[in-house]
């Protein structure tokens, strides 16, 4: 398999994740779509690392995973807090700061 195959797959997954962020109106699904995008980028990193014969791609992947874990923890805590306030997960319900 050439690097092009992996890059096309990575771009496809990233687009699906972006479409999820743009189209869905559910905070949990938005966070899941962000995870899809992070994983698409991980795949590109590992594929490039394999192509160049270095270990750096895999290491950056670990850092991305750590950031994803931190993001999930804080994001889900925020979702719980928001749900307590409004009893809703629709982003349209949280527009108090909108001008």
């Amino acid at each position: 398999m050439s690097i092009g195959h992996y890059l096309v797959l990575s771009g496809l997954l990233f687009s699906i994740g972006a479409a999820g962020v743009f189209l869905r109106r559910n905070l949990i699904t938005l966070l899941l779509s962000v995870e899809i995008m992070l994983n698409a980028v991980n795949l590109a990193f590992v594929a490039f690392g394999r192509q160049l014969g270095t270990v750096d791609g895999q290491i950056i992947t670990f850092f991305v995973m750590t950031v994803a874990a931190a993001e999930a923890a804080v994001g889900l805590a925020l979702v719980i807090g928001l749900f307590r306030h409004r009893e809703s997960l629709n982003p349209e319900a949280f527009t108090s700061l909108k001008w």
């Binding site: 962020v21 189209l23 192509q51 270990v55 290491i59 997960l89």
Partner: protein, 169 residues
């Protein structure tokens, strides 16, 4: 051939995540997608990343998601009116979002189709570096600073999550 199997699993899982109305099914579909990606990492001769993908992502992060989804009891939330309509009949902002996502996909495809040197096998030029010992050596020498900063990030996230989720007085 295995590549297409795993790639198909990853893409199908991702599509299911975006199209499901019930968040519980979304989380389960994403776990399936992660298993496909893990197989791809094995094909790329990065077995440690593949194992970490399963243990950390599917095992820890997704369980956290599933836990919150079940804690909040959100499936009934998806029966609301705003989620019923066909995507094209939704409010203007959402319609523009769909166009933006399509634009991003087209742009990525265009950029890839114009890039030279994408042919040839991914494993042709260099031997694989897949030993965990080498991985650890580089992580604790070249990437020492980033590694330490990551530990601070984890502490901040932990404290932040506790502060955000605790009951207000």
């Amino acid at each position: 051939m295995l590549f297409y199997l795993f790639a198909g699993a990853a893409v199908a899982g991702a599509l299911l995540v975006v199209s499901q109305r019930n968040p519980v099914y979304s989380v389960l579909a994403l776990i399936g997608s992660f298993f496909g990606l893990s197989g791809l990492y094995v094909l790329l001769e990065a077995p440690f990343v593949a194992v970490v993908q399963i243990i950390i992502y599917a095992g820890a992060i997704m369980v956290l998601f599933l836990f919150v989804v079940m804690l909040l009891n959100v499936p009934r939330e998806d029966a609301a009116e705003w989620d019923r309509a066909h995507p094209l009949y939704r409010p203007m902002a959402v319609r523009i979002g769909g166009v933006l996502a399509l634009l991003l996909a087209l742009e990525l495809g265009w950029a890839l189709s114009r890039t030279a040197g994408l042919g040839g096998g991914v494993a042709d030029e260099h031997p694989a570096v897949s030993s965990v010992a080498e991985l650890g050596r580089v992580l604790f020498t070249d990437y020492m600073f980033a590694f330490e900063v990551t530990s601070i990030l984890i502490i901040v996230a932990m404290v932040g999550a506790v502060v955000l989720a605790k009951k207000e007085k």
